[in-house]
């Protein structure tokens, strides 16, 4: 009887896997245990929404994470998943992708996991340019350990370990990713759900390492860190949406723009068409880091709008492809490995 039930279950599963997948298919049977109101829910929801549209079957999708609130993510996805150790998810993801380049690999990390304990791995992942989608949930706080400052917390931040204010300068994750050579660098915000979905889609489409920073609200330990960027009354004046080939325009009435002056951006009021023509036009497809880097620095300046969207994207053959091409080339050159020959290489002698 039990066997029959099991058989039916398998049959149902197979049938299911043959039909088109929907949002619900990507959710696992595990109870989601983030705090109510956490920004992570929005990210999970968008991920489940986007994935069925990509045409990549669940069994070819793998979520890898480190440690922290964000890193519980794989347990909530009905794909393959690996919840690893603090900061080390990029290493596992690298091995996985090199072992099987056909898998669609997502790496979920946070500001502590990815930029503090795992900073080294993340920059090396970027420079190698493996085709992996990295999503960094940046809430500027250590949440799972209950409220210590993180590498992205602003100077002066009062937390449990900085009762008199944090002294250390924060990392700008976008600047770091650009400098480390990530071939797709983007930012989105948990409350901008449509934008997030679009950025996820573009990250998957990009053949190379995609880095997506998500500003994510921790409503328990750092509530409102991004409030100005998400509240209806302020967000249009504080956020600038980057669009390829479009001038850098923002503001409630699309009445402000950015132009380059020397090595700095300047805000320019837009009154008519003529003003728009003087604005800088966003070009994401470039290997030149300088412009994207200037753009990334805007968010450090309270006087300037915070960009969201794709900062930079360039095409370069991903590492895992080069890795396997090299293996094939060696196979071609040397012929398929032959153990007997390997054993007998170098000088041998025979004892009768």
């Amino acid at each position: 009887m039990a066997e029959k039930v099991a058989e039916q279950k398998v049959e149902a599963k197979i049938k299911k896997s043959e039909s088109r997948e929907v949002k619900e298919d990507f959710g696992s049977d595990q109870e989601v245990r983030w705090c109510p109101g956490c920004g992570d829910y929005a990210i999970l929801a968008q991920m489940k929404r986007v994935l069925p549209d990509l045409g990549i079957p669940r069994e070819k999708t793998v979520f890898i994470s480190g440690i922290g609130c964000s890193s519980r993510f794989p347990y909530y996805m009905n794909t393959y998943g690996f919840h690893t150790i603090h900061g080390r998810a990029p290493t596992i993801a690298t091995g996985l992708k090199l072992a099987n380049p056909e898998l669609s690999v997502w790496l979920i990390t946070g500001d502590g996991d990815g930029l503090s304990i795992g900073g080294n791995h993340l920059i090396h992942l970027f420079r190698r340019n493996l085709n992996i989608n990295v999503v960094l949930f940046n809430n500027q706080i250590y949440g799972l350990t209950k409220g210590q400052f993180s590498p992205t917390s602003p100077v002066g931040k009062v937390t449990k370990t900085t009762p008199y204010g944090s002294l250390s300068n924060p990392f700008n994750p976008i600047s770091m990713a650009l400098a480390a050579g990530a071939s797709f660098v983007a930012r989105t915000i948990d409350r901008h759900t449509k934008h997030m979905a679009e950025i996820f889609r573009r990250a998957v489409d990009h053949e190379g390492c995609s880095f997506v920073e998500v500003y994510q609200n921790c409503n328990i330990f750092n509530d409102g860190a991004f409030k100005e960027l998400t509240e209806a009354e302020t967000k249009l004046d504080t956020v600038i949406q980057l669009e390829d080939g479009q001038p850098l325009v923002y503001g409630k009435e699309n009445n402000k723009g950015l132009q380059l002056k020397g090595f700095n951006f300047e805000v320019k009021d837009i009154r008519d068409e003529k003003d728009v023509s003087g604005l800088h036009v966003h070009a994401e497809k470039t290997t030149n880091t300088a412009y994207a880097y200037l753009l990334s620095k805007l968010s450090d300046n309270p006087e300037m709008p915070t960009p969201i969207g794709v900062f930079r994207k360039f095409d370069e053959k991903p590492y895992e492809i080069k890795f396997h091409e090299q293996m094939e080339a060696v196979k071609e050159k040397k012929g398929k490995g032959d153990l007997k020959k390997l054993f007998l290489t170098s000088d041998t002698w025979t004892v009768d």
Binding site: I14, T79, Y80, G81, L98, H124, F343, L344
Partner: protein, 612 residues
């Protein structure tokens, strides 16, 4: 010409020593090769300086190479050398502690200049002030004779000087009645594209031999006759070479790709270097950004269905320990090669030690048992690596392979196995048409089933959080955790049902049982053979798997008056023996960065037995 005599010897140990740039490793390797082709049993050990380019003439820049060869079986590179070839005063200074009191010393007299003597810390020339009394010293103008031999060759003075190691080799070839053909052939091949160098090296080699034959200095040449060696095809292998071949072979036999993630560290870097040449076997190599990334990538590859391997040394093991815990928890196959070196911390990276045993057994948070196998000789690294892969995939567990500097760099003849005789490595992956429960276990091995990402219907999540047995769901249930902790420990113990047990060497009872592990094998075996020949009631039990411990040891250990545990640490195995078998084991420990010596161990064992 003087009449010369020839004498037969059973065994000889020669030490070649010179500046790092003098080509002593090459000289030693050439002598080794020729000796192997003359069918002597042999064992070698190079002694490199840690500095890459130490100042010429300095004592710390001396590079040594020792070979022990015999007409009988050889298990060690020899205690103290019978012959020293010293290319300069520093080499002499550095090597005196490694040679017999009456050793033959062949010196390059030309290098004994005031400057070189000073660099070596000699106030006076030791060849002239009687300090070498007792030794049989042969001062030869090796540099000058080399220049003379190359008079007609258009190389600079400095370039000609670089050929002098072949002069020394020529002398030694004559002294030990060796054919020069193997080296002649080697030179022809090596310098095929550089005819000047080819000619120069050949000339110098011959000049050295002719000099030895003609000079009145050497009156006797020696002969070590052919040894009785098991028939077969042989080659010379170092421990690191053998380990690499073992890994490649295991990949081929399992039908899976070997994925080696590694980070350069002495003395394990060579493994990554050598493996990276074997891409045509489907071997994937990845030089990671650090030790953690190296093991992480290997574990990630194992998750995807490759056989993840990482190679390192003590300090790297320390960095990998959190990942080892994750590998234990996720129950994925993983092979970790720890090529031990003298510690703690940076310690003495080029010197040997057996001091990582505690670290690999216990150096993790929580109850995190993993399997540990130790290679006993350079050639045995092949079998240890192969077996480690087999057990890792069969039991879904990390396996640590312990080697050390002594094995990694040491070399011995390897009786090349027929590759079809290697035990099969079978892997049964989870199938998409069955319900997959990530932590359902095989009844015999307790191993969970490997399900590869990409396979339909087997989606599952693993990770460092405790999992419910069978379902693999995250679980904080107290009873489940207790059960899982025990299951992980039992699984490692079950390995004992599937691997070969060591055999006791000698009688099953007696005055003393020597219990050892790893690279001390050769020394202990030599000592026990000698003691038994002398009528002592001594037996020998050498561990291969240290976790799990072999079952048969329990059977014998109570039958001996004394249990003696020699180690190149302060008693790490000994503590295990004491606690596991409740015997009053006696330690013999030396932690000098050197392998144990036969003579010293023998004395120690005799004293322990006599003390009663």
């Amino acid at each position: 010409m003087t009449t010369k005599s020839s004498k037969e010897l059973d065994h000889v140990t020669i030490r070649f020593a010179g500046d790092s740039g003098d080509g002593m490793q090459l000289t030693g390797n050439q002598f080794t090769r020729t000796t192997a082709l003359s069918i002597n049993d042999l064992s070698t050990f190079p002694d490199f300086p840690a500095e890459i380019r130490a100042p010429a003439g300095s004592v710390y820049g001396v590079s040594g190479f020792q070979i022990h060869f015999s007409s009988e079986e050889v298990h060690t590179p020899g205690d103290k050398a019978d012959v020293l070839v010293a290319m300069n005063p520093a080499a002499l200074q550095a090597s005196l502690k490694f040679i017999q009191n009456n050793a033959v010393i062949i010196l390059n007299k030309d290098a004994f200049t005031p400057r070189n003597l000073k660099l070596a810390g000699y106030e006076e020339d030791p060849t002239e002030n009687g300090k070498l009394k007792g030794y049989q010293v042969y001062s030869v103008d090796i540099s000058r004779l080399t220049q003379d031999a190359l008079e007609d060759i258009e190389l600079t003075h400095k370039e000609k000087e670089r050929c002098k190691n072949f002069f020394a080799l020529g002398i030694v070839y004559w002294l030990y009645t060796r054919k020069m053909e193997p080296t002649v052939e080697w030179i022809k091949k090596k310098f095929a594209a550089q005819p000047l160098w080819l000619k120069a090296n050949l000339e110098v080699l011959k000049a050295g031999r002719n000099f030895a034959e003609a000079t009145e200095l050497f009156r006797t040449s020696y002969k070590v006759t052919r040894a009785k060696i098991k028939p077969g095809i042989y080659r010379q292998v170092t421990g690191n070479e053998a380990l690499v071949i073992g890994l490649v072979a295991a990949g081929e036999k399992s039908g899976r790709n070997i994925f080696l993630g590694s980070y350069p560290i002495t003395p394990a870097s060579e493994i990554l270097q050598m493996m990276s040449h074997h891409k045509n076997f489907g071997v994937k190599t990845f030089q990671a950004e650090d030790e953690m990334a190296a093991i992480g990538a290997a574990l990630g590859a194992s998750f995807a269905g490759d056989i993840g391997v990482t190679a390192t040394s003590g300090p790297g093991m320390a960095l990998k320990s959190e990942f080892l815990g994750l590998a234990v928890m996720t129950e994925l196959p993983l092979v970790v090669c720890d090529i031990q070196r003298a510690g703690p911390s940076t310690g003495m990276p080029t010197k040997t030690e057996q001091s990582d045993l505690n670290q690999v057994l216990y150096g993790r948070s929580g109850e995190a048992p993993l399997a540990v196998i130790a290679a006993k000789s350079p050639a045995d690294c092949f079998h240890a690596a192969y077996e480690a892969v087999k057990i890792a995939v069969q039991f879904m567990t990390p396996v640590v392979v312990l080697s050390d500097v002594y094995l990694a760099n040491g070399a011995e003849p390897w009786n090349i196995p027929d590759e079809s005789s290697l035990p099969p490595i079978e892997i049964h992956f989870a199938q998409p048409d069955k319900i997959y429960e990530p932590y359902r276990r095989n009844e015999d091995t307790l191993a969970r089933q490997w399900a590869l990402p990409g396979t339909p219907n087997l989606q599952h999540r693993i990770g460092g959080l405790e999992k419910e047995n069978i379902t693999g769901d995250v679980s904080y249930d107290p009873d489940n955790h207790d059960e899982m902790v025990r299951l992980r420990a039992q699984k490692i113990q079950r390995i004992g049902d599937f691997v070969e047990e060591p055999e006791i060497f000698g009688d099953e009872s007696g005055d003393a049982l020597i219990v050892s592990w790893g690279s001390t094998y050769g020394t202990v075996l030599t000592v026990v053979e000698q003691l038994r020949r002398e009528g002592k009631k001594v037996s020998f039990y050498h561990l291969r798997w240290i976790n799990p411990l072999p079952r048969s040891l329990k059977k014998y250990i109570g039958n001996f008056e004394k249990v003696i545990v020699p180690e190149v640490n302060l008693g790490q195995l000994s503590k295990i023996i004491r606690s596991e078998y409740l015997v009053d084991a006696v330690n013999f420990n030396q932690v000098k960065g050197l392998p144990l010596r036969v003579e010293e161990l023998k004395d120690a064992i005799n004293k322990i037995i006599e003390a009663g």
